[in-house]
Amino acid sequence: MGRYVLRRVLQGILTLFLVIFLLHLLTTFAIQLNGNPALAFFGDRVPTQAQLSAVSARFGLDDPCYNQLGNPCFGPFVNRLKDYLSGDFGTNLRGREITSIVATAAPNSFRLFLVVTATWLVVGMFLGSTAARRRGKVVDHGIRGFSVMIDALPVFVMLLVYRYVITVPVYTWAKKQFGSDSFIALLFKPSFDSDHPMITVIIPGILLGLAGSAAFIRLVRAAQLENYNSDHVRAARSKGLSERHVRVFHIVRNSSIPVATAVGIVFTEALAGAVITEGVMNIYGMGGLLWNAVRDSDVSLIIGIVTLLAIVTIVVMILVDLLYAALDPRIRYE
């Protein structure tokens, strides 16, 4: 196990290096094609050459290679890596440290992800197992139709409809009925409230979780169906174990291994979904920051957050792989 962990972590570090290099190449290329993003700092005003070069220097964009199309800019890349290693992810256009901005925003993203994960597990496991148990029956077809419907409603659409069509009347009604600080009123508040961070992310989180749960339902159903027909289940049944016991200990437990790995894959999708959710619902989290940074064309903030999120994704993927290896001994010895 120790060797496997070491190998996987080293692989992860290599991937991380390549990802940062790829992001660097793409941004460099975009800047070379499209001109200095430091111009965004000045908004509509036209800066003098001195002002522009001062701002470029502050964001590390003063290297002449940014004017040469096709130059991969290795010099700035090495500097950037050094900065990242010392924990410096740059500043936004107003000069605030990105790490300190992210530190205040991350807890809200974490709350959102708690709700999302809970929704995945509850909806995905429950509906997936039910569908597998009643294969081919009406319930199975119903659950399948439900998952197709979820797929057909992008998170973005779901949130727009929720925010603009549903919350306003419900919130007004709840405010009148129970007072504006009551639980129900806060639950349906159209936008995030930093005084009540947990309550106001519940419904956006459930919606985002629902959007990801379609894949989960299908996966859980397929994994359990495979187990229903396997030899060890037949053996357990013929020993005379109750159907309930067989289901809980021999089917659900065995089929949770592929489901655990899927968490890693769905995570990247949920990350993108979180950007949309936090943006549309005004949640002050990492995704919301990114959303607003795009609206303000705050390029250095965008680069910083995307890099940080890529790092988080790699860490999650490594953790999931290790979890998989811990659950299934076959993986360790491949």
């Binding site: 941004t27 800047i31 603009y164 950007v275 965008i302």
Partner: protein
């Protein structure tokens, strides 16, 4: 005559139709799909929006760019009135907007998915067929690109291109198309690679090799037709995904850009002025988007079933 051939002859006589299409996975899939009513409805809906995107003039005589401020904020009048879907705050006809908005949305989706499949199939086949260092490089690239979620990459790159000049329908979707393709090919590569690995050691491929067929011929004529089935099932779902992503990008002002109209832009405008009396500005484009996405998702779901031999 051995028992087996007799058996085959008997089945052929019993099911003349299946005997004729035998072997062809596409024929089988098509016959399965034809029997499902929801698939037919979904196909008709998708076809309808394709026709709308191709021939907008059939559906409206108005020009979406020609807006008369005197007509601003007319609620939907129903078919027969001058503005069946009403007009927005600047007096632009909503029906014309929705009709002309179909083209950029669908064109973007088809370009992105088409290019991604092309790249994915090429790289996946090369990786699975040659293995070795080709495979190492391609698999590593897939892994690196997979770590960065599509939407995040699109936000980063498109906001760098924020000020760039564009012209025409094709020009306005060129940037989002390139960026979405750049981060959309990995899934196909993985699937094709896995299928090629499975297919290339089958007896008939070995036979072709023994007969002296070139690598290219084996790949194109023998391996690919068998390896491409599962990928096809991903296509409609991917098209639906791109249509949704376009809406998000347009909402943020970095996708298809005004003055071009797309469903995303209409949704963005509609939600900005969402208030009593003008809900239709959001609901019409949103409805079109949901219908189209739903149709493609149903098609993808049915195709996945029909092409999956394990479910038969």
């Amino acid at each position: 005559m051995s028992d087996q051939t007799v058996q085959v002859l008997i089945t052929e006589e019993q099911n003349p139709e299946e005997g004729r299409g035998g072997g062809s996975i596409w024929g089988d899939a098509f016959r399965t799909l034809r029997r499902r009513p929801e698939v037919i409805i979904a196909a008709l809906v998708a076809l309808f929006f394709l026709v709308v995107a191709l021939f907008p003039k059939l559906f409206t005589s108005q020009d979406p760019q020609h807006c008369d401020i005197a007509d601003s904020g007319i609620p939907p009048q129903g078919f027969g009135g001058a503005h069946p879907f009403g007009t927005d705050i600047t007096g632009c006809d909503m029906l014309a907007g929705v009709v002309y908005g179909a083209r950029p949305s669908l064109l973007l989706a088809f370009i992105v998915v088409g290019l991604s499949v092309l790249i994915g199939v090429t790289l996946g086949t090369l990786a699975g067929f040659y293995l070795g260092w080709v495979d190492t490089i391609i698999s590593r690239a897939v892994e690196v690109f997979l770590v960065i979620p599509l939407l995040l990459a699109a936000l980063l790159l498109l906001s760098l291109f924020h000020g760039a000049e564009t012209s025409g329908v094709l020009g306005s979707i060129l940037q989002p198309a390139l960026v979405l393709t750049l981060f959309g090919w990995m899934g196909y590569t993985r699937y094709v690679r896995a299928n090629v690995l499975e297919t290339k050691n089958l007896d008939y491929v070995v036979a072709a090799r023994v007969l002296g067929a070139s690598d290219l011929r084996i790949m194109v004529r023998h391996v690919l037709p068998n390896a491409i089935g599962t990928v096809t099932a991903l296509v409609p779902t991917a098209i639906a995904g791109v249509i949704g992503t376009e809406a998000v990008l347009a909402f943020l002002g970095i996708g298809v850009r005004p003055p071009a109209v797309s469903w995303g832009i209409l949704i963005s405008n509609g939600s900005e002025r969402f208030a009593a009396g003008s809900q239709y500005l959001l609901l019409f484009p949103l409805g079109c988007l949901v219908l189209t996405v739903l149709a493609f998702v149903i098609l993808g779901d049915a195709l996945r079933d029909a092409l999956d031999p394990k479910l038969k």
